[in-house]
């Protein structure tokens, strides 16, 4: 049973990727819907399995690490698998309608989409550093492909920039992995953590850590390494942007966070933790500020991602050298932030895509008068915006609340200011869009309402993000599912 599930989660996407490479877009679409159902089913089944028993290690095909692929199935990984299933399905459904099936290059969409999904699952479930690297690369390459798919010069330029940045990041990470392996002789995170505890003060481990962290920060687009993100996310097709912003950047952050939580207590320093926090804070401020200045709708959303990613890096100072309870709060807050941002940002990009479809323009100022027609997508956009502003009862609020508590309880009150300022600045750019839609003097008297399905999907995502705060308690309980050896 379990092996089927695990295989389903990793190999179905790969298989679907290969198969859909052989068929056209339309057939691929049918195929993919079936695949999505399978994926969602497998994810939910995994949830039940873990809830019934507990988390476990799983060696794929019976091959033990380091040569085989070892998977770590715990509450956190499960949460992210579920999140991926939800968001990727939503984006896939949206893309199936949104993309023009008659363009020849669209046939590559589904393979790339499935490769991406496979990479994501690999990262969530991966237990050793090298497999994480492979998953990461799989994600990167398919994401770049998706950005470039059928694009013009601008899209290509953006995707090239993205690719180069991501490759450099991967290399930095890989070099770090190499140093780590040289040092510890193992690739398993757990084992490494164990060894680091046993032999503190190993020279070279610090450099390895730095390389990995920086590489991952580059891939996560932490300020000031975020330059590649806004062009790529802004220029890609909306469903692709949604996938990229919601999930792809989270993958590298997920690895960074796991590294930090396992190795940080022994290898990290206060200065490093604070540096990460400061960069995160700067990302929040700078990203939000630039989002306020962008003339184009999707650029606003893309810069908003830069800002929201900044929040995530507050995890580093809030889990270093604090009590177990505070660290717990910070981790919970971070998980919620990842989830709520994923849902909200996906909703936002999809809604933005719909709005662009309706108005025929990507410019914020062309939204003038749109609110008169009460477009569904504007609502979705707004609801997602509420989550980004982290107002209650959204998941964003729950996350912010936990982070606030963590920073207050650990005495690092300065992060509260960042959290609050970030909320206000995000309000500034969200309301900029609203404001534009309320302008009354436009000549607009016709309005193209996109197909219902296109509009329903972002709304669903936005509502999920909105309701996340209401179900934060059960959600956090999934994350905190116990972890036992075996499997």
């Amino acid at each position: 049973m379990m092996s089927w599930l695990m295989a389903g989660l990793l190999f179905t996407p790969l298989a679907w990727a290969v198969v859909s490479l052989l068929v056209g877009f339309r057939t691929g679409r049918w195929l993919s819907w079936v695949g999505m159902v399978l994926q969602v089913g497998a994810s939910v089944a995994l949830w039940f399995a873990v809830a019934r028993e507990s988390g476990f290690y799983y060696a794929l095909g019976g091959w033990q690490a380091p040569l085989g692929i070892e998977l770590q199935v715990d509450g956190l990984a499960l949460t992210f698998v579920l999140l991926t299933a939800a968001v990727a399905s939503a984006c896939g459904l949206h893309a199936g309608v949104y993309l023009d099936p008659d363009k020849p290059w669209q046939r590559y969409f589904w393979p790339l989409f499935w490769f991406l999904w496979a990479g994501l699952n690999a990262v969530w479930l991966g237990a050793d550093l090298f497999n994480l690297y492979v998953g990461l690369e799989l994600i990167t390459l398919s994401a770049v492909g998706l950005v470039a798919l059928g694009g013009d010069a601008g899209a290509l330029r953006a995707s090239l920039r993205y690719l180069l940045a991501a490759l450099v990041g991967s290399m930095a990470y890989l070099l770090g992995v190499a140093l780590m392996y040289g040092q510890f002789g193992t690739l398993s995170l757990a084992g490494m953590s164990h060894l680091a505890q046993e032999y503190p003060g190993l020279e070279g481990a610090g450099l390895a850590m730095a390389l990995m962290m920086t590489g991952l920060a580059l891939k996560t687009a932490l300020f000031p390494l975020h330059g590649w993100l806004p062009p790529a996310h802004g220029i890609a097709r909306s469903p692709v942007s949604a996938l990229l912003s919601a999930l792809v950047v989270k993958a590298s952050f997920f690895i960074a966070a796991r590294l930090w939580l396992e190795l940080g207590p022994n290898l990290g320093t206060l200065a490093l933790a604070q540096l990460a926090g400061v960069l995160g804070a700067l990302a929040v401020l700078w990203g939000s500020w630039l989002a306020c200045l962008q003339p184009q709708l999707k650029q606003v959303v893309a810069y908003s991602s830069v800002a929201q990613i900044g929040y995530l890096f507050l995890l580093f100072p809030l889990t270093w050298g604090v009590t177990e309870a505070v660290s717990q709060q910070a981790q919970q807050g971070m998980t919620l932030q990842v989830i709520s941002h994923a849902l909200a940002k996906a909703a936002m990009f999809l809604a933005a895509g719909n709005l662009i479809l309706s108005t025929g323009s990507n410019r914020v100022s062309d939204l003038a008068g749109v609110s008169r027609f009460l477009p569904f997508s504007l609502f979705s956009f707004g609801l997602a915006g509420v989550s980004l502003m982290s107002l209650p009862p959204t998941g964003g609020f729950a996350a912010k609340w936990l982070l606030l508590q963590a920073s207050l309880n650990s005495g690092q009150w300065w992060w509260t200011l960042v959290l609050l300022a970030g909320g206000l600045l995000s309000a500034a750019y969200v309301f900029r869009i609203y404001r534009a839609s309320f302008v009354e003097h436009s000549e607009l008297d016709q309005f193209y309402h996109p197909p219902r399905r296109l509009e329903a999907i972002p709304m669903m995502l936005a509502l999920m993000s909105l309701g996340l705060g209401l179900v934060a308690e059960p959600l956090l309980s999934v994350m905190a599912l116990p972890f036992g050896e075996g499997g």
């Binding site: 930095a172 730095a210 920060a217 580059l218 000031p224 540096l275």
Partner: protein, 565 residues
């Protein structure tokens, strides 16, 4: 309380309000209700027996009641409003009739209600209703003078209301209950007894024309429609007096200095008012100053009562008597100011007699209410029975007051003669005026006065030895008046409202200061605006720089992190 009485009380206060409901539907016949409206109140005043009616759900736990003191005021108020209403039927043209009726009814309701109010909340409510509604009566005419007078009236009224509110709140805070009957004792015991006394004195003083708070009177009376002036001066001004009597700590020790201060204020009012009044050129302005002067005389009584607790029971009936006397007489005089004289000699003489008699009554002509009031006043203010510094001066003051009063009346008559309007009067107008005059001349004959046998009915007539003291001031005044008419070709002009002119200058300066930019809200400095304009551009180029140098930044970051670890 019997149901009939309940109904009567409700009718007395409520009838004017009910009449209001007719305003939207009624036409020109609306005015015919005016004399009827106060009738239930009049009946109420004449039904013997004191009563109290507790209304715990109304306002702040209300109590309405009627006792002897209030009864006098109720008679005065109802009668005067009645005759003024009658007069108004003939006086009014159709202009702004509805508005006038609305204001009239509201003012009437307030004026009647405050008399029977027994608790601070309802008293103050009715008082305020009267104050604010009567604004409409003052500015009814809509002329520039009327509007100016209205503004002055309103400013002073608001100030008065606020002083009053402060005083009442302070006093009620001490008692804990809002009953007026408990107030004097509470004030006497309060920590801020003198503050409260001062607030109440000045608060009611605005209405009662206390010197330096009197400015609105000579402005408002001339411009208001005549029936309105009559009630303003006859009834409403007495509301202030009633307020004093009900709330000041009369009968309690410790306010002797206040008594002296009031006497001085009264002296200033009665003599100063007269002095300024004779310089006026409008009949109604003269009458207004006369009211100020008369209220000055009543101030003497209030001062004496405040200073001599043990004499309060004697003085209060005299105050009531004096108020009744002055109210009716002054009402009659005001009404007469717009009466046209008939052409025939005989009836013309009769008219002059009827016009002059209330005036002479004010001066204390024997066989009039004035004589009764003056005598009673003299009796209670005998120097040997009062323990005041100013006690010895009271008698001469009263005499001087009588002279001054008559001088004002003579001035009024003189100006009235100058106007020399002849013609027919509308019937209602004549009736109203006659009613007021007759009331002034005859009413007091029937009233059962009881003040320790002092002026007890039926011995209201002056004793023979009293004629001379009553008469000689009248003679002196006649002589002075005659001489003045001969010798002074034109009276020096003093604008109505005297010292107000200076105050208004100050007010204008203050207003111009308020309009300065300080109160217009802050503005961001220009440099900040400039910075704000350039910021987006700078940010965009910084972002371009970051994008280009991203990988360089990465290198630096690796090194930095390695150093930190």
């Amino acid at each position: 309380m019997s149901p009939e009485m309940t109904f009567l009380v409700l009718a007395a206060v409520g009838l004017p309000l009910v009449w209001l409901l007719l305003v939207p539907v009624a036409g020109r016949w609306l005015r015919f209700g005016l004399p009827l409206l106060p009738l239930p109140a009049l009946v109420l005043a004449l039904v013997p027996g004191d009563w109290q009616w507790a209304l715990p759900w109304l306002l702040l736990d209300s109590l309405w009641l009627l006792d002897d003191l209030r009864r006098v005021f109720l008679v005065l108020t109802a009668l005067l409003w009645c005759s003024a209403g009658l007069f108004a039927i003939g006086y009014l043209d159709g202009k702004h009739l509805k508005r006038f009726v609305v204001c009239w009814c509201l003012t009437l309701c307030g004026n009647l209600g405050l008399v029977i109010a027994g608790d601070a909340g309802s008293f103050y409510s009715f008082f305020a209703l009267m104050t604010f509604a009567s604004y409409g009566l003052v500015v009814h005419d809509g002329s520039v003078e009327a509007l100016h007078a209205g503004r002055v009236y309103m400013v002073m009224a608001v100030l008065g209301e606020m002083l009053l509110l402060a005083g009442l709140i302070l006093a009620v805070a001490v008692t804990g209950s809002g009953q007026l009957a408990d107030l004097p004792e509470a004030i006497a015991k309060a920590d801020h007894a003198h503050l409260i006394t001062g607030l109440l004195l000045t608060g009611f003083g605005v209405k009662a024309g206390l010197p330096m708070l009197h400015f609105w009177l000579p402005l408002a009376h001339p411009v208001a429609p005549t029936p309105a002036s009559a009630v303003l001066s006859g009834a409403m001004i007495k509301a202030g007096l009633l307020g004093w009597v009900l709330t000041l700590p009369l009968g309690h020790e410790g306010f002797r200095d206040w008594g002296d201060a009031l006497v001085i204020a009264g002296a200033v009012a009665s003599l100063g008012g007269a002095l300024i009044g004779v310089c006026q050129t409008q009949t109604k302005a003269v009458l207004a100053y006369s009211s100020i002067s008369q209220m000055g005389l009543m101030l003497l009584l209030v001062g004496a009562a405040l200073a001599t607790p043990e004499r309060v029971d004697l003085i209060l009936p005299v105050i009531a008597l004096y108020a009744l006397h002055h109210g009716l007489a002054k009402g009659a005089l005001f009404l007469s100011s717009t009466v046209r004289l008939p052409r025939q000699r005989v009836s013309r003489g009769l008219f002059w007699l009827l016009i002059a008699l209330p005036g002479f009554a004010l001066a204390g002509l024997p066989w009039t209410s004035g004589a009764l009031a003056k005598l009673a006043m003299k009796e209670v203010l005998k120097a040997d029975k009062l323990a005041m510094v100013t006690a010895p001066y009271l008698a001469p003051l009263m005499t001087a007051g009588a002279v001054a009063t008559l001088l004002l009346v003579l001035r009024f008559l003189w100006l009235q003669r100058l106007k020399d309007e002849t013609g027919r009067n509308p019937l209602a107008l004549t009736l109203g005026w006659s009613l007021a005059t007759l009331g002034s001349l005859l009413l007091f004959w029937w009233l059962p006065w009881q003040a320790e046998g002092l002026v007890a009915s039926p011995r209201w007539l002056p004793e023979s030895y009293q004629y001379w003291p009553l008469l000689w001031p009248i003679l002196v005044a006649l002589v002075i008046g005659g001489l003045a008419a001969r010798l002074i070709p034109r009276a020096p002009r003093i604008p109505p409202g005297d010292a107000l002119v200076l105050l208004e200058l100050g007010g204008r300066w203050l207003w111009s200061w308020l309009e300065r930019p300080v109160f217009r809200g802050p503005r961001a400095p220009a440099s900040l605006n400039r910075l704000w304009r350039h910021l987006p551009g700078w940010s965009a180029s910084a972002e371009q720089g970051l994008r280009a140098g991203g990988i360089l930044a990465l290198t630096v970051l690796i090194l930095l992190m390695a150093a930190l670890l």
